[in-house]
């Protein structure tokens, strides 16, 4: 009896301790979300604040979906969303292609080397994100380190215009988000039993087959977590395209910023943000599903 009561109390306590951070997250996610949703359903006006009130003052609601309709009619938005999805997806795949061998190497290194390599992965976080992106401007511009070295090596005779191109954006995205790919991948690969790969080879699989049959499926939780951790922030990224990208690389983060602060069309900007959020919810749901399935398979 006492044990049961104790158990109950433990459960309550556990729920309570979990509930607090969740409540915190819920409040500070839902509240801004509700505010943005409300603004997106208003009309822009020149006033303070620059949108019509949600309640009309007579107990009714003055909502309009004009901003959303505008998003649909002007092709610019669709193109920008698509371009953002595309660039974020490419950056994610590049991070995966680079990050997987890195994570694999780290997970298989001996303990001392492993800790050093992990430290090197997180080392960039000690320097401000903005500074690091500025540093890339210094590296990539026409008189930057990379062009100078290439000219000195006589690989090229005129500087290559890296800056203000999609290429520069990819460099910035991959560089900035690579650690978010490597760390979850490392965590899954490090836990993996090496005997499994040996067993596959023992049963007749070539090393490449053993990789695709065993290592890859078992690393999937890490791959998915890493991809989402890169894709989601890359999708809404503002600083990197703004500093490294050209005028034609218009991404959704830039549009969002411009609508809010340049055009002061808050309802439209909010609508852009809400649609962006919906676009991101899809991969998150995908992650949840897949993680639930993996939990079932490995518990």
């Amino acid at each position: 009896m006492i044990a049961v009561a104790g158990f109950r109390r433990d459960m309550l306590w556990q729920r309570f301790t979990i509930a607090i951070p969740y409540l915190w997250l819920l409040v500070f996610f839902l509240a801004p979300f509700a505010i943005i949703l409300k603004i997106s359903l208003a009309d822009p006006i020149i006033a303070q604040p620059p949108f019509t009130p949600f309640f009309d003052g007579q107990g009714g609601v003055a909502a309009t979906v004009d901003s959303y309709l505008f998003l649909l009619t002007d092709k610019l938005y669709a193109v920008t969303y698509l371009k953002s999805v595309f660039m974020a997806a490419v950056a994610t795949l590049l991070c995966l292609a680079l990050g997987f061998p890195m994570a694999y190497g780290i997970a298989r290194a001996d303990e001392g080397t492993r800790n050093l390599l992990l430290l090197l992965i997180v080392l960039p976080f000690w320097i401000s994100f903005l500074l690091r992106v500025y540093a890339w401007m210094g590296l990539l511009n026409n008189h930057g380190v990379i062009n100078n070295v290439l000219i000195w090596l006589q690989v090229i005779d005129k500087p290559i215009a890296f800056m203000y191109t999609d290429f520069a954006i990819y460099v910035g995205l991959v560089y900035s988000y690579l650690p978010f790919m490597v760390l979850p991948l490392y965590a899954t690969l490090e836990r993996m039993d090496l005997d499994l790969v040996d067993a596959a080879q023992d049963l007749g699989a070539r090393p490449s087959q053993a990789f695709w049959d065993i290592t890859w499926p078992l690393a999937r939780p890490g791959v998915i977590a890493g991809c989402l951790l890169v894709f989601i922030p890359a999708m809404g990224e503002y600083v990197i395209p703004y500093l490294l990208g050209g005028p034609e690389s218009l991404l959704i983060g830039r549009v969002l910023f411009d609508e809010f602060f340049v055009n002061r069309d808050w309802p439209l900007a909010s609508a852009v943000a809400i649609v962006l959020l919906l676009l991101l919810v899809v991969p998150i749901v995908f992650l949840q599903r897949s993680q639930a399935r993996d939990a079932e398979g490995h518990a």
């Binding site: 040996d198 067993a199 007749g204 490995h298």
Partner: protein, 370 residues
């Protein structure tokens, strides 16, 4: 099919194989031949290089020195996926993301065998290891013993020439282990596949094997049938490692016909043992006697050919089928004696502190020089 009988033609030939990790020799100049259809055990303490030797046979480690032949073919340079050898891992290494059926089918799929045949062979194999009702389960839904059988089935279904088993029973509880030992022997007998089993459990090795190799610090110390290794150990290490034994250190003082007289301070005088290759007078030797070879009596035995020593019962233990005694000699040395409890009696034959005599036949003692 040769069955369980070890044929004399060498099937696996390990020729002077060494494996170094840095300066450390995990396997040190091992030479060994194993016959077709043998159930061969490699026995040794933890860290003596058993797994390393097995991994060399499977192809996961390349030997630093030496060659390996299977069925006359040099496989030293073959990668694991091309060897006619399968291994059952110490950790079982059952693929966690595949069902039992998929696990067992994996090796056949890699061989490119037609689906229908894969299905049939997997079905047969699951039947044999009694897992047919678990075919659709994932490994995390299985018990340890069932996972062990998946690992076994997965390796056997490939019909390898040699099956390597790394501590196949270590993770099972005592009851299941004993049961599985006999199952393994049955399967081996039925399929006639050569089994090489690694174990650190000497009892398991004795029960299972046609022959045993005893390893220590990367080197082979003795190879022989369980009986040979038990009755005629070639060194102090083997004598001590397998079973219990009383060892008396001493020096050779002389010979009478084929018997050797050894002066043992511990025993308080000279002891006698038989030897085909008697060591030189004055050389240090060890005279070893198994506890069950020693007779115990309250009165001094008449047979003057036997070795006879007097002592008192220091300790005794009753184990149902037999009793163990610890007899303290006048020199202070304690000798272990075991005796069958053939009589059923309410009274104990011996009590603590009884004065007794122990004796053994000269041929029961083993003379060890290494």
């Amino acid at each position: 099919m040769t069955g369980n009988a070890a044929s004399s033609t060498p099937f696996i030939e390990i020729q002077n194989v060494s494996k170094y990790f840095g300066d450390f020799a995990a396997v040190d100049s091992v030479s060994l031949t194993i016959g077709k259809g043998e159930l061969f055990s490699i026995l040794g303490a933890s860290g003596c290089g058993k797994t390393t030797l097995l991994r060399i046979l499977a192809g996961f480690e390349t030997p630093s020195k030496g060659r390996i032949l299977i069925d006359g073919v040099d496989i030293t340079e073959l990668p694991p996926y091309e060897r006619p050898v399968n291994m059952m891992f110490q950790s079982y290494a059952v693929f966690p993301h595949m069902t039992v059926e998929k696990n067992v089918a994996y090796g056949l799929e890699k061989e490119g065998i037609p689906r229908v045949e894969i299905k049939r062979r997997v079905g047969e194999m699951l039947n044999m290891v009694q897992l047919d009702t678990f075919a659709a389960r994932k490994p995390h839904q299985l018990s340890g013993g069932q996972r062990q059988r998946v690992a076994l089935a997965r390796a056997l279904v490939k019909r390898p020439k040699v099956l390597l088993l790394d501590e196949p029973l270590a993770a099972l509880d005592k009851k299941l282990r004993e049961h599985t030992q006999f199952e393994l022997m049955g399967i081996q007998y039925k399929l006639g596949i050569t089994f090489v089993v690694v174990t650190h459990d000497q009892e398991e090795a004795m029960i299972l094997s046609s022959r045993i190799a005893v390893m220590d610090k990367g080197r082979l110390i003795q190879v022989g049938t369980p009986k040979e290794v038990y009755e005629y150990p070639n060194s102090r290490f083997v004598a001590d490692f397998i079973g219990t034994i009383n060892m008396f250190e001493g020096t050779v003082v002389g010979f009478d016909d084929d018997s050797v007289r050894v002066n043992c301070k511990d025993a308080g005088g000279e002891l006698v043992a038989l030897s085909d290759a008697p060591p030189a007078v004055g050389s240090p030797v060890c005279l070893a006697v198994r506890p069950e070879k020693i007779f115990i009596s309250k009165h001094e035995p008449d047979n003057t050919e036997d070795t006879r020593l007097a002592g008192i019962v220091e300790d005794l233990g009753y184990f149902g089928n037999l009793s163990l005694y610890r007899i303290r000699l006048a020199t202070g040395r304690v000798v272990q004696v075991s005796a069958q409890n053939s009589r059923r009696s309410a009274e104990r034959f011996l009590e603590w502190d009884d004065k007794v005599f122990i004796s053994w036949r000269p041929r029961s003692a083993v003379l060890l020089t290494d």
